[in-house]
């Protein structure tokens, strides 16, 4: 299928926003830099060299605008600046900065254009550039899609270099020594005689000159920080209880609020009786909010107690009430009318399927909650002229737009003060806590309102990962997979999410339905991957690794079944079929790390899976033992290629965390609906992985690909299929539906 033909009708999907091809974005506007948001607030003697570096007489402040949701992105961004600025960790402060268009994410375009990430053809690159212009014009500051390193890598090193060269020029003007005789290190310019001129001393002078923008970035061999072991800047605070999250903030005159909205997501409230609640100690007010009510009290627990004391009459859910109906809708959506796109068609699959005995299988992936450990919360204060919000969010400017729309205030007078978050996994792309905190604050003007969701409310009002169903059909000839056909159906997470963010439903097909499956790096004569879009059911949202979390499971499980049907070894066959060098090296690495092929003994098995998502290829091998009490996951081996590992320790921690996320939810987590309500309310029935179940995980970071990629999500998708494939190897039982504990016990 020709790429150019399809581009015309496809929208350019950019994160959760869409820009239709017809939007006018002139090259001039796209090339003009955004204003530097630091300029407006500069005091006398303070210099801002670009939107990321600000220096005054006391402090070098590095602005780190990506949201830190636990991935250590504040540290990573600062390191990239510091590498070129010649300043050491500990010598600078970091600040999330004000939300601003200048901080638009340059890497959203990489996954926004409808091409495989490995496709570096002129057409693909051109389309990425065009989508990049659009993200810039929209000022899409955002954190997601594992883009933070890719967005930052060149941009922030350049920002550091610009600041450094400008400071050198300032030092030259002050000292009379030519620039080419100056050196920089440890946050200071050094003169040939050894005199140190600290950057902070030079700020006043630097503020009077134009930044030097003609800079050359250093070669990898010259790096002092990038790629070396280092201490993440937040580790000490996070080991001593000193790290403040949004939920820990306190304001003068602040009140504490809790909400309950219809547990049938989006359903109405027909009435409620707050008589008992109003009489409870510390309760200041009971207020109506969209589809529910809020209690305002002098203490969080008292607000929780009062919410529990209110009886409400809830309306019906705007989606099927029972889980079985959701599955029925999916199973009936593999139709021509609901074909979202034929993403890949090599050879002739219909003819291939006619040519022999068909091996087929059906797979399911359930709804799953994000459930980051810090429940949703926000502090909002609304006055007649201004609104301020303190919360952790991945799309800062959307938050300001959202509140501006709600309050009628000019967006220039709405300020988000972004906070460190206790996890997100996609939950902090949504606006529930912002909406409710603002609704309450609008009814209590001039009072800071701190809204804290109970864990139960957080579960009930999560927008879970989409449910999905996959159907595979393959024809084997001798020991060759001749034909492989994969059809995947899910509701579109982007279509559900967009309108809640105040955006239109993105037109065109949703690549997330097939993400991680359509780009499988295998040469098979007849290979087709199609996406089918189920009608909207329960509202869903981006969940760590989004579409690849289901499509990767379906694709790599079915490829495994086809390989076994052909009588081949799952690792050798994958390597033999692999037509993408970077991917094959990941597979070869895990084969060697796991000593693939060596005997494991009775009741033990290995499984392998490979998924490339967000441009990062990841191969994983899982080893399990079938014990008397169930499956024990013994070891996992991972090889991932991000082009350049910036912070090796954090990389290792992150890959392990992604594997644990992928395995834990595949084992035991789902959201199911009964009477329109999520049946799971807290961690007792959506456990994820616990320490005792955690395998020994060995990680290798490869650097074979030319582009810089992220690692937040890509280790997740291969974990579930590698586990299912290992369980099959150990027991002969093929698990085609998550969570696996519905069918087999885990110890």
């Amino acid at each position: 299928m020709g790429k150019l033909r399809t581009i015309g009708r496809r929208a350019f999907l950019i994160g959760s926003a869409a820009v239709v091809g017809g939007v006018a974005f002139g090259v001039y506007a796209a090339r003009t830099p955004h204003d530097n948001p630091l300029i407006a607030d500069l005091g006398a003697g303070e210099a801002a060299f670009n939107p990321w570096v600000k220096i005054d007489a006391e402090t070098v402040t590095l602005i780190v605008p990506h949201a830190d949701i636990g991935q250590g992105v504040a540290h990573m961004q600062a390191i990239l600046i510091a590498e070129e600025l010649d300043i050491e960790p500990g010598q600078y402060a970091t600040d999330f900065g004000k939300p601003d268009a200048a901080y638009y994410n340059t890497a959203f375009a990489e996954e926004g254009a409808p091409f495989m990430s490995r496709d570096e053809s002129g057409t693909a690159e051109t389309m990425r550039t065009i989508v990049g212009y659009a993200t810039k014009l929209l000022g899409m500051q955002g954190t997601g899609g594992s883009t933070s390193v890719a967005d930052s890598f060149t941009k922030l090193r350049t920002a550091g270099a610009v600041a450094r060269e400008t400071l050198k020029l300032a030092a030259s003007m002050e000292s009379g020594v030519p620039v080419d005789q100056l050196k920089t290190a440890n946050g200071a310019v050094e003169l040939p005689d050894g005199t140190q001129m600290a950057y902070t001393q030079l700020a006043a002078k630097a503020a009077t000159i134009d930044p030097v923008t003609d800079v050359v970035l250093r070669q990898a061999s010259e790096w002092r920080l990038i790629g070396k072991d280092m201490l993440r800047q937040d580790i000490v605070d996070k080991s001593t209880g000193l790290q403040n999250y949004g939920i820990d903030l306190e304001m003068d005159g602040m009140v504490h609020a809790s909400v309950r909205s219809n547990p049938r997501q989006g359903g109405a409230i027909n009435g409620y009786d707050a008589t008992a609640a109003k009489a409870m100690r510390g309760v200041k007010a009971v207020l109506s909010v969209t589809n529910g009510f809020a209690v305002v009290a002098d203490n969080t627990w008292r607000a929780f107690q009062a919410v529990n004391a209110i009886e409400a009459d809830w309306g019906k859910a705007p989606y099927p009430a029972e889980q079985a109906e959701h599955w029925k809708v999916l199973s009936e959506s593999f139709t021509d009318e609901l074909l979202d796109d034929e993403w890949r068609h090599d050879g002739d699959v219909p003819a291939g399927l006619e040519g022999g005995e068909v091996v087929s299988a059906e797979y399911r992936a359930p709804y799953v909650a994000h459930a980051p450990l810090e429940p949703l919360n926000a502090i909002v204060v609304v006055t007649n002229t201004q609104a301020d919000i303190w919360t952790g969010h991945q799309m800062p400017r959307f938050v300001e737009d959202y509140i501006a729309k709600m309050t009628g205030l000019d967006v220039a007078n709405v300020h988000l003060h972004n906070q460190y978050s206790g996890g997100s996994f996609g939950h902090r792309l949504e606006f529930e806590q912002i909406r409710y905190a603002t609704e309450i604050a609008m009814q209590m003007k001039d009072t800071p309102v701190k809204l804290t969701f109970t864990r139960e409310e957080d579960f009930a009002h999560d927008f879970p990962r989409q449910i999905a169903m996959g159907r595979g059909a393959a024809v084997i000839s001798g020991d060759t997979i001749e034909t492989l056909d994969l059809s995947i159906c899910s509701a579109s997470p982007l279509a559900s999410q967009g309108p809640r963010a105040g955006l239109p439903v993105p037109p065109g097909p949703d690549m997330q339905i097939v993400s991680g499956a359509w780009n499988m790096p295998y040469k098979i004569d007849n290979l087709r991957v199609r996406g089918f879009r189920a009608p909207e059911l329960a509202p869903v949202s981006s969940w760590r690794s989004v579409g690849a979390s289901h499509a990767g499971f379906f694709g790599e499980s079915f490829v495994d079944e086809a390989i076994l049907a052909a009588g081949l070894d799952p690792m050798e066959a994958r390597i033999a079929m692999c037509d993408y060098d970077v991917a094959r090296k990941c597979l070869e690495a895990v084969a060697e790390m796991s000593n693939w092929g060596s005997p494991l003994g009775e009741n033990r098995g290995r499984g392998v899976a490979f998924v490339s998502s967000f441009g990062t290829p990841v191969a994983e091998v899982v080893e399990v033992t079938m014990t008397e009490d169930g499956i024990k996951i013994d070891k996992v081996f991972v090889a991932a290629d991000v082009g350049q590992v910036v912070d090796p320790i954090n990389f290792d921690n992150h890959v392990k965390g992604g594997v644990i996320w992928g395995l834990g939810h595949a084992m035991n987590s789902e959201i199911t609906y009964a009477d329109g309500m999520a049946e799971q309310s807290n961690y007792h029935d959506a456990e994820g992985m616990r320490l005792y179940q955690t395998p020994e995980i060995t990680v290798m970071g490869l650097e074979n690909q030319t582009k810089i990629r992220g690692i937040g999500e890509p280790p997740v998708p291969p974990a579930a299929p590698a586990l299912a494939n290992a369980i099959f190897a150990a027991t002969g039982q093929r698990l085609r539906e998550m969570p696996f504990n519905k069918f087999i016990d885990f110890v």
Partner: protein, 152 residues
């Protein structure tokens, strides 16, 4: 009502049935102990009462019959407890939200059993949930802390 936290005695005017967690966080503004689940499923709220780990969300302030220590009282950046030092050395935290509870649980556990086996660690530390999946580093940090404590 009197309550001693990190060596300081406080006088409180609260309902005895208020969980200790909310007394610490909202009344005394001690925010190291975190609210994660409210039902002792996550352990983020773990504090010590007379040295023993307790889920502060699941004990009412009226039932507290000893001195309370929170993460803030265990050690500070200038004077880290051996468990905290191990957490820093292994760079355990990602989002960090569960780590106050993990550290308080580990400190109490190592006080009871300073030579834990891998199985002991699995048994002691599996009621503390980490959504980021930092468990491999928690295991290593507990072992390092045990070694430090035994050498002390």
């Amino acid at each position: 009502m009197k309550l001693t936290v990190n060596g300081t005695e406080h006088t409180l005017d609260v309902e005895p049935e208020m969980p200790l967690l909310w007394v610490l966080r909202d009344e005394l503004k001690i925010t190291g102990p975190k609210y994660g689940c409210g039902i002792a499923q996550c352990g983020a709220c773990t504090v010590h009462v007379d040295g023993s780990a307790v889920r502060s969300c699941s004990i009412t302030v009226g039932d507290v019959d000893g001195d309370v220590t929170t993460i803030e009282g265990l050690g500070t950046p200038d004077s880290l407890h051996a468990v905290q030092a191990a957490w820093v050395a292994h760079q355990v935290a990602q989002c960090g939200y569960c780590q106050s509870g993990q550290i308080m649980q580990a400190a109490s556990f190592l006080d009871l059993n300073s030579e834990p086996t891998d199985e002991d660690i699995d048994n002691a530390m599996s009621a503390n949930l980490c959504r980021c999946g930092t468990y491999p580093r928690i295991r290593e940090a507990v072992k390092t802390a045990a070694k430090t404590l035994n050498e002390a």
